[in-house]
Symmetry: C2
Subunit: 421 residues, 2 copies
């Protein structure tokens, strides 16, 4: 992976002692990174520091020496622990001054909410000398923007609030336009290819000879259980030039990986299955044993899924398999609940019971207990029954309960997709 | 939140350019922080840096100046981008030397896997002068431990591999024992109270006057949709002393919050509902409309749930409500699918169909589309039917589709719990 493609580097600094506990992690920085990358800025450092004035001031000084863009997140509230304003001011040798207009606005804001403003809240009206105030319609803490020069080099410094729903609009609407005016113009083009039910090394073996011929395009492989994302990005002086290269590579990869690619613009497998079902005027019903509702949950996570998903049954106990999907008790007795035959009967039974076009049946051993030598943990059967035929697949899935269950639903969705191609 | 309770501070440094993209975040540090806190060490800084030798060396030097314990994660592989060994050595003014015994072990490891070792892999046998090698049975990159002195102060430096399944056992088995010998003995006691279906501010209003009387116990509130965690931790010279204070505070908070507290040792709501069902010899069946399988999925995520969960139905289409849960079509016509009456009929119907002790019915508008003035997005009905009675609750849940669905399942689980108390 090429390290830096841009001459302009940012450091993102998250402030708050809670971010140094085992319970919280900084998620804002991923969002900001994506937006910075889009305008051609690379993130070179990320730092997390607690509510300690010495630490925070020293972190600010270090950032000044090594990054062009400094983004401070958090520490703008009214409490004693909120020190970002003072410490950044100290690091750049400026003062903070209480802005009477902001004090007035704070009082008005509290009055509107019918609450009395306590003294300490006035602190949120402290502004670093010559900083621009970034209004915050969603909270009491305003942001600040500072243009600064450090050893003859330009520095763009932002003080932003920590809550995600405050920082995102403030960054998008107030910081990005300012940055666009100040940094050299770069455009970023991105494509995401998604691949189902292919091993990561098998995928890379086929894809690498192709993407290696495009060293100017950054290719990142993200692999999950039964799901791979190939992310292609390129930055260039013009969006057309960047997009053309990314599209060219995406096309070649799609040719090579063929129908393993289920989506080429970032859609989820659930969404793609939904599109296909609607396109074919088909409906879906499912009977889940070991996945316990996860398949239904994934399908119905998509808004509007009621147009093609009629419903289904969680057939955890054997009697439920008979009650809801009409599986003959004798069949379960003969082959066991975890068997190819029962998966097929579940798929066909639920299809008929629900009068759907397509039925899915899943049975297996999700573990960690309940495995036997003949039917070990990780053994799953997935069947998909259309009007024409029923396909069934047997797999041994490695991993824990969550992974086995996820993998079975991934297999099921991919089989439905392939049945509709 | 008190900032630092310990005199020994750590800095955790994650290395890898991929960690500076929008797609990856460092998750190892949360695990390490928990383990460090347990032996009385606070984390004072977290840094993420890319595969750039100048950046990495300078980050190492900065960490030496401000932390007692330096944990470097990643950058120990065989590629050109793997620079942690060289850069840490440079920062502390030492050399790296190729260890012939480690080279031999690498060759053996590859031979065992039936693969030829490429030249570049030998790099993984480079050891910083006077460092202790930390064997890695789960990968090719060994770790390294360095005892160092900086300006007369002791520094403990660890170089650890990036993959979570390699770093965790290496840290637990090889680093923690070394740290325990070197840092002043501190013991950490923790209790987690979990609270369902109570607002965060309402909870804090009742809890704060109590936990504020225990300034020596660190109280952290984590709030999700319909779920609050109160985490109580205290470090002290003896585990008994720490535990006694934490237990005392936990007891007082439990008295105050009463039956809103569903778990006092960290169990999930799904697990607690499972315990109660087993304790009462009861069984559960569910009929889900707007939650689309999420409730079943949460219940069956718990291993062994087949002992009390018989199954249920996803009754997305109206006909499914009739087919699986025996809801009279006329009832749906009269009151609408999203109504108190249909929720009750679903709960009672699925209970009877599945011959379970308890039945749950959920119906609602998860959005973002499908809302009307009379039945807006976020309106949900949850009913729980036991043999004795049926309870039903109507709620307007703010938020997006995912939050509304989660909230409805949380409400359902809490109602089942309360029915079993």
């Amino acid at each position: 992976m090429p390290c830096y493609t841009s001459p302009v580097h940012a450091e993102i600094i998250a402030i708050g002692s809670e971010l140094l506990t085992p319970h919280f992690s900084d998620t804002n920085s991923l969002y900001l990174t994506e937006k910075l990358n889009e305008i051609g800025v690379d993130v070179a450092f990320k730092t997390v520091v607690g509510d300690n004035p010495d630490h925070l001031t020293s972190v600010a000084k270090i950032a000044l020496s090594r990054a062009d863009i400094l983004i401070f997140m958090g520490g703008l509230g009214p409490t004693e622990d909120d020190l970002t304003r003072e410490c950044v001011a100290a690091a750049i040798g400026r003062e903070v001054r209480r802005d009477p207009e902001l004090v007035h606005q704070l009082h008005e804001r509290f009055a509107k909410l019918g609450r009395k403003m306590t003294e300490n809240n006035e602190k949120q009206a402290d502004v670093i000398d010559w900083a621009e105030v970034l209004p915050n319609p969603l909270g009491t803490a305003v942001g600040q923007w500072v243009d600064y020069e450090h050893d003859g080099a330009k520095r763009y410094i932002m003080l932003l609030p920590g809550p995600p729903h405050e920082i995102k609009p403030m960054f998008d609407e107030q910081c990005l336009p300012r940055l666009r005016e100040r940094v050299p113009k770069r455009f970023l083009a991105t494509r995401v290819l998604k691949i189902a039910m292919m091993g990561e090394s098998q995928c890379d073996q086929r894809a690498a000879p192709i993407y290696k011929r495009f060293p100017d395009v950054q290719t990142t492989i993200l692999a999950g259980a039964g799901d791979i994302q190939l992310r292609l990005t390129k930055s260039a002086d013009s969006l057309e030039a960047a997009q053309a290269r990314v599209d060219e590579l995406a096309g070649l990869l799609e040719d090579e990986l063929d129908d393993f690619v289920y989506s080429s613009h970032g859609e989820s497998l659930e969404q793609i299955v939904g599109y296909y079902l609607q396109m074919r005027g088909a409906t879906l019903a499912v009977a889940e044993s070991c996945t316990g509702g996860l398949l239904s949950e994934r399908i119905t996570k998509v808004s509007g899924s009621s147009r093609y998903f009629v419903g289904g049954a969680i057939v955890y106990a054997n009697e439920m398999k008979t009650l809801f999907a009409n599986v003959p008790p004798l069949l379960i007795e003969q082959h066991g609940a975890v068997s190819k035959e029962v998966a097929v009967a579940l798929a066909e039974g639920i299809r008929d019971e629900c009068r759907a076009t397509i039925g899915v049946g899943i049975t297996g051993v999700a573990g960690p207990t309940g495995g036997t030598e003949a039917k070990p943990v990780g053994l799953i059967y997935v069947a998909v029954a259309t009007k024409q035929k029923t396909d069934v697949v047997e797999r041994r899935v490695p991993g824990d309960r969550a992974r086995i269950r996820w993998w079975a639903t991934q297999q099921a969705l991919d089989m439905v997709r392939r049945a509709l191609i």
